[in-house]
Symmetry: C2
Subunit: 502 residues, 2 copies
Amino acid sequence: MSRLIEVTELALRDAHQSLLATRMAMEDMVPVCEDLDNAGYWSLECWGGATYDACIRFLNEDPWERLRKFRKLLPKSRLQMLLRGQNLLGYRHYEDEVVERFVDKSAENGMDVFRVFDALNDLRNLQTSIKAVRKTGKHAQGTICYTTSPVHTIPAFVEMAQKLKDMGCDSICIKDMAGLLKPQPAYDLVKGIKEKCGKDTLVHVHAHATTGVTLVSLVKAIEAGCDIVDTAVSSLSLGPGHNPTESLIELLEGTPYHTRLDMERILRVKRHFTTIRPRYREFLSDIVGVETEIFKSQIPGGMISNMESQLKGQGAGDRLQEVLLEVPNVRQDAGFPPLVTPSSQIVGSQAVFNILMGKYKVLTGEFADLMLGYYGSTLGEKNPDVLKRAAEHAKKPVITSRPADLLKPEWEHLRESANALEGANGTDEDVLTFAMFPQVAPKFFKARADGPKNLGKDPAKKVAASEAKSPAAGGAKPLEGSVSYVITLNGKEHQVSVAPGK
Amino acid sequence: MSRLIEVTELALRDAHQSLLATRMAMEDMVPVCEDLDNAGYWSLECWGGATYDACIRFLNEDPWERLRKFRKLLPKSRLQMLLRGQNLLGYRHYEDEVVERFVDKSAENGMDVFRVFDALNDLRNLQTSIKAVRKTGKHAQGTICYTTSPVHTIPAFVEMAQKLKDMGCDSICIKDMAGLLKPQPAYDLVKGIKEKCGKDTLVHVHAHATTGVTLVSLVKAIEAGCDIVDTAVSSLSLGPGHNPTESLIELLEGTPYHTRLDMERILRVKRHFTTIRPRYREFLSDIVGVETEIFKSQIPGGMISNMESQLKGQGAGDRLQEVLLEVPNVRQDAGFPPLVTPSSQIVGSQAVFNILMGKYKVLTGEFADLMLGYYGSTLGEKNPDVLKRAAEHAKKPVITSRPADLLKPEWEHLRESANALEGANGTDEDVLTFAMFPQVAPKFFKARADGPKNLGKDPAKKVAASEAKSPAAGGAKPLEGSVSYVITLNGKEHQVSVAPGK
């Protein structure tokens, strides 16, 4: 009678991306792999754009080597990644051959489930990668980026799901990046997809916890027939992260649903990350608790802090409220794109410009491209006046074709450029690293031999290191008596009394 | 078609009791009263045992004066309090006249809704207070302390609800002290009460957020017909506290349920407490995020820290795990009392003794009293061997009557003792303060004229105060260069660098 609900664990990717700025070192994840591998998850998400970026930018770690290690340490599990469609893990559109090669290499190195999305929900930006995944025989998951607007109706999303199914997707993901998915729409959307695409269509729901409502939404999605939900182990959960795995398991007790997760193993994983998390305190998200004002502004937390620093850089830190009110206007003018990387940054920056310089007096290049169709199409109509401004500004025509159709073959050129770099190892994997992060890859290839860095700090070790670096000659000045200070950490003020060490 | 769900706001009592050790000063609550009064709540909880205790013990504030101030500042609202039945706000049983006088005075000073509970769910411990509330014409809410055990079944709780109704209660509260109420039991229990006691029986659900599941439980309770739920404004929510008010409002959108709350006013309250909360950082609960291990141990967070310090005091800090495993055994031997003040402390202390001294080698006086019926009756059978040990130890008989029936009239004696104290003002309110807190009241009466203290610290002001108190003559030693330290705040280690002020 009881229906099995499958679960994807996010601890190894999105959880630390959302809570610890993606800084977690591989060696801090290795100790939990055996428990995760045997806990009964449907899949373990462990790879994606930000983890790849952080590996080469901050951790001096080869992301492909990380993938191979996960493959080895998690032999029984489906490994899952998040793929930005035609953008791969980078920030521009790639020509189809690059996309195909990336998918092939990812599958070859051990990836099983490819969750493929496009920031604008433009299916043409998904077609090449989904086709490539299907060719490898791996699991292609087509993604609906969930957002709310007058044009984003349940029937419109259901229609999109049907199209993803027609493209050959093995499952459909409803991806709620900002915690905007409320219980009733969650229910209606899953129900709608099951009715339209057939009962056997696998539906997978991903939601962030930011607004405090989405654990209820996961339950409503389950009641509507959802097959798989995403959660994160409790010690890496909540705030801008996700709902806690243990809470999901517990709350299903007595209902007509159950998971097959092994609580004892998950509690061991929980305890490990309880210890590890404070080591990354300097990267900890400022957001704690819940934040429901996102429902009104539609602006995710990360985007607000970006806009704040942009404004402060212009000496206009006091105009944030005006900008927050402008964002929904800009989003409407652009045809209601979902706000997720990169559309969130593009819309946010243009809102800042509108407030500082006057409405559409200055356009960012990216915003003009968004208006003119170079990122793909949006569900809503664009404001014709702003469209005209964009065409004048960028001196480019409006396009209605698939953006990648404008691209010329680029693999050979990328390969030559990558292989010419000091430290490049001649593999296609290195070419892909260079293709996606051309600014960062050269430095990384050169330093790669030094091996991975762990930015997590063992509190005991750190004191010694800081003392050695202290500007006062010979290290820290000895302190006599005790001193009281107010210290601001992650935006919270703390009254501390400092006394000499014992 | 949509059904109105009423809400009780906990910010003024249980929220800061759970998160800030009940230390919030009245002056930090005054600024939000107008918004709370006009936001559309069913009631505002603002008084109870811990707030009364903290007022006289820590804040030098007359709790009756606090009640009168709330009455004045919240003219449109129902004021609500939590009353421990025959224990009132103290820690022993009081003779009936004291109970009646307390209820009368509370009503007279402005209380509207009395939520009355007994830690053992022994209805005989509620009868006098409920009768007294009814006599005043105020709202008498009978409470079921929710717990789980082999004897605590849905039908048993429903039976209890019917008895509360028969006693004349105006509404029934399901009180989940530790976040143990899962969604399905929440649904079944509310449904059961509505079916047994009639659709028009008002059902009110109170749940803590500790385990991360109870927002779903509130929704399930609502689906089953629950009329009123308890929440706390988001900036005073979650962890060992409660589910966020704003999230509840938002998640009902599109469902057949709605609140009548004014979000704009609630967001102003939220922003106020976002500013105020950090001032009480030294009292902040250690628990953040969720903790599902409570489901297994049944031990609320506050109780674990009590037991830890008890064990450390005995040089046995390493034996906590054994004690945690012993608690459910002791609870079973005692007939499965719910674990809430004072039964949680009594069971927890006995478990510590069992581990340190051998099983029931030493009995605490309170545990013997619990076994022998001096706190009331339990739903489960008691272990006869342990009962025998308790009778031998305490040299007292088992009682089966209502504990308060053994008490002699005490009001006149309490009045004489209270009025003889320096600073006592001769009112019945002062007699009640003395009755409930005989150790603390004398000191409070003496110091009362100095006026309330605010333990929340304005970070800017605090530095000056600390410097003046610094042991080094003339205040803090000036610091040259910068020094790095690891500083532990609320159990979290922080790496900080301290530099001279600019």
